[in-house]
Every structure is written in C-alpha cells, then in structure tokens.
C-alpha cells in the first residue's frame, strides 16, 4: 500500500462518495460520524496498516476496530475500496440477508474484526486483542476508533485502566472528537470534556491532530509507533459530516436521510 498525500485525499473523497451511495435517498444512515472519519480511515487502510484484502485472516495483519460501530459505512467503504469484497455489495447494505449489516458483523463481512455497535465495548475488545497478540510475541498493532459521545460509557474507562495497567503499547486509539452526539452538542447535552487530561490521568500517551489533514494524520500515526510501555490515544479534531456543507456540524445527519436533491448535490460535489 503506502499511498501519497494526494492519493489518500482522493481516497477519502471516494469513501465519502461510497457512503452517500450506501445511504441513498430517503433511507436513514449514519452519515455524520462516518464522514468525520473519512481521512483517518483512509490513512489507516491505505497507508498505515499492514493488511491483505485477499487474505482477511492473515496472521501478521494489523487490526482495526470501530468501537463507535454506527460509523460502519466508512469502514465498509474502505473495505470495498481495498478489495475485501465487490463494490457491488455496498448497494445492498442493510438489505435483508446482506453481507453489510447496520453495524459491523465479523461473521458476515470479510475484514471486520469484531462485532461492535453497543457503544463502549470496542476498546475492551481491542485491549484483549492487543494482549493476546503480545502473548504470542506478535508485532501486529491494534487500532481502535472511539467517539467523543461514546466515552460517556463507563466501560471505556474500565478499558482505559486495563490498557495502561497492562502497558498495551501495541494499541492505538483514535478519538473522533466531532463534538456532536445524536441529540446535539456534546458540550450542552453531556459533556465528556476535557479529554486529554482524562486520558493522561488514566495512564495513556495522549496526542492530538487535525483529523482531516492527511499529512498530519500520517505523521502522528507514525510518531506514536515509537512510544513504549503505554497505550496511545490520538484525539482527532474533526467535523461531523465533513465534506458536505449542508451536513457539516448538523446533528440531523447523525443518522439522517438525504433528499433526492441533497443526494445529487453530494454526488456532484464529491466527484468533482
């Protein structure tokens, strides 16, 4: 893999376009929190992670877990782009019997590592994976995406203690700080801030980045590789719905529908 910055930026747009196609017109879909992750997921799948779409269970692969499982569409888009399955599958997302379920399902979808969606559990799963890989002396890394709304779940902090207690330095979490939860602004609805101070207090190495700046994402992900004896978390400053002006910072698109007009506008914008 190892794409360049312009290629990765283009890939992020391709992921967004695929997400729009998956949501379609008049159907609900988690657009906002998928769009906020487009650059991060693009860099992980097409630059950073070791993985093999032709061999999803390759033992030396890095692992990607979406603890905020409702953003499944962005991962489906990346898996399809990477060649884990036919791009045709994305048209069937959430159809009865489809490979692509509403939330990630490792039994139906090649490339999905765990079942997530009940929020707060993915980080614990990622910790267990990291511990298991280390037990076998493997060098694989585990990447786990958590949401800034999701971290209201107490289990996140149980996992946070576990990761630092067991010094899981093969685990990197990315916190998608898009500042909105389903019903409004996190600061107003249920403030999970301050973030950096909390994670530092739980024993994590904490750094921050612009979650839409591909160059910066690449650098930060590379830099944390060398941090030893601590789990790492990257607080990614993002915009929910990023890339579609009508959806940006708009809570209606947490799990919203697109009109025909919005759909066409989105396709045109993302293809340009």
């Amino acid at each position: 893999m190892g794409m360049t910055v312009p290629e990765l930026e283009k890939k992020a747009s391709a992921l967004r376009l695929n997400i729009i196609k998956m949501i379609g017109v008049g159907q609900k879909g988690h657009l906002g929190g998928s769009f906020s992750l487009a650059e991060i997921v693009s860099v992980l799948y097409f630059y950073k992670m070791k993985h093999d779409p032709k061999n999803p269970h390759w033992e030396d692969r890095d692992r990607f877990l979406l603890s905020k499982g409702h953003a499944a569409l962005v991962q489906y888009a990346a898996l399809a782009e990477a060649g884990y399955f036919s791009i045709e599958e994305i048209k069937k997302v959430k159809c009865l019997g489809a490979m692509l379920q509403g939330h990630p399902d490792m039994l139906t979808t090649p490339g999905i590592e765990a079942n997530t969606g009940s929020l707060g559990q993915g980080l614990s799963l990622a910790c267990g994976m990291a511990a298991g890989l280390r037990l076998d002396g493997r060098k694989n890394r585990v990447y786990c995406i958590v949401g800034d709304g999701e971290i209201a779940e107490g289990q996140i902090w149980e996992a946070a203690m576990t990761a630092s207690f067991y010094k899981l330095d093969n685990l990197t979490a990315v916190l998608d700080k898009n500042n909105l939860q389903a019903t409004g602004a996190i600061k107003e609805r249920y403030d999970t801030n301050p973030l950096a101070e909390k994670w530092k207090a739980f024993g994590w190495y904490v750094t921050e980045m612009d979650g839409h700046n591909v160059r910066e994402i690449m650098d930060v992900l590379d830099n944390v590789d060398d941090i030893r004896d601590q789990p790492k978390i990257i607080i990614a400053h993002t915009i929910k719905g990023k890339g579609l002006p009508f959806a940006e910072n708009n809570v209606a698109f947490h799990n919203g529908e697109l009109t025909q007009e919005q759909y066409e506008k989105a396709c045109a914008d993302l293809m340009s």
């Binding site: 799963l125 267990g128 037990l135 107490g154």
Partner: protein, 307 residues
Amino acid sequence: MQNPRQVYGETLLELGRKNTNIVVLEADLSKSTMTCLFEKEFPERFFEMGIGEANMTSFAGGLSLTGKVAFTNSFAVFAAGRSYDQIRQGVSIPKLNVKIVGSSAGLSDFGDGATHQSVEDVAIMRAIPNMTVLVPVDGIETRKMTQKIAEYHGPAYMRVNRQDLPDLFPIDQEYVIGKSYLIHEGHDVAIFACGVMVSKAVQAAERLKTEGISVRVVNVSSLKPTNEDDIKKFASGVKGVVTAEEHSLIGGLASVITYILRGSGTPIVPIGIEDEFGQSAHDYEELLADYKLTVENIISSVKKLFY
C-alpha cells in the same frame, strides 16, 4: 463429596498445562472461584481485570479473537448480570470462544444475601442465542464439563456451586454437551433435576422406594442445548414428572422440561424458587429449606402425582 469450585480450579490448571491457548480472566475473586491455582502456575496467561466484569468479558472476547480459549470468572450473579450486554453483543453474536464461569451460584453463597445469590442467571443466559448453558451436578461432572467446554468452540456458561456436593456422576461416563443422565432407576415417576437438587431427588427416591414408589432421577445438566429425545425417553411410561432446580421457576429447568413435554399430557410438578430474590442465612440447607428446595418437598410433589 467434592467442592466443585476446587475441582474447577484444578481442572483449569490441568487444561492450562496441556493447552497454552487457555487464558483465565478474573474480577478479584480468584481465591473464591479457585482460579488462583491457575494464576500461580501461569501468571502470564492469567488476567486480573479488577472489579470490572463488563470490561473483563469484552477483553476475553478480544483474546479469543487472537486464538485464545478465554475463561472469565466471577460470581454467577455478576457473571450473568453485570456482563449481560457484553456477553450478548461482543461475544455471543459473533460466537466467540469465551467460557463464562458463574461461581457461588444459586443460593450457595448463603450468607451474602439477595445481591450475591443468582436466582435468574440460567434464564438470562438461556435467552441469548448461540449460548450453551450448563449446570454440573457435582465435582466429577464439573471436571468433565470444564474439559468439554474448553474443547468446544463457542460461548458457554457454566454455573458452579460454592458448597461441597456428593459425587453422583458416574466416573467412567463420558460427558456430552446436551445429554441428560439417568442417576437413579425407577418407573412410576421421573424427576428431572439439576445441580444441588439432583442429590436431594436421589434421597427422595430412596425414601419413596420404602413406600413402594419407584422413582427415576435424571440429571439434566445441559439446560441449553437439551437433547429433547433424552427427556422424552426418560419421561415415557411414568405417571408424571417433577422438576427440581435451585433457580427461579421462570426460564430455567422447569421451562426446559415443560417446553419439551408440551402436548404430551404428562402431568408436571415444578419445584424451584418462586418469582423472588434470595436472602441471607447462616446455613445453606436452612436457606434451601426456606425456599422449599428439600427432600421432603420432592417427596410430597411426587405423591401429588398419585392423587
């Protein structure tokens, strides 16, 4: 007499010696669940997860995704209750290889009261698709069951009594998940029992024999799956059936047997805990008696089938 917790701890250690993929997770009860035996010999494969059952369960799921056979341990009330959603979502939906061992189950932690006594753990676990639910009758079966669930790929829940139990499972009998086992021959009435209630059923059968009533006692240790043919076979040719369990009458053995025998016309008298919680007592037997989980109640229930 053997203590099932002790046997479980020793079996886990034996399994750990044979299979380096066995990992054990604990929520600060290792001296009670007896996983301390495993910890002592294999500290690197033992994960103390602190007093956090939810995280322990999902963490075990993560370990299983790297090829480990993960045993999580806590009291049954917490194993099933505090981790329900983690078991459901992250473990059972994808059929992960996680074994949930609920220790000090039922009323067997007699002193600690309602908060620590599990009257509904079997019901909760049975309701989860893909879950196997097992209740060993004694130390012998605990050992065989532990070995079997370690071999079986998928989620399983095993409910372990805190107190010593008399040996009833034939030592040479192979244990198979799903099967029910005849413990005492008889032809007038069949008692389907599990856990501590099997030994009480056997005592009841022996006393009834002196009164000329012949009672068959069956150990239904696999509450999911339960081989329906076994139950129908053991229920055939009798006047009726008694079920006996140290668990709520909702969702446990009584539910299993009445469901399997539906439409057969077989009279069934269920013995179990009514829709209520446990409470503290100074003695296990005293507590069981308060919930009518006694030899005497089994005897009178059998006799009801004759009138």
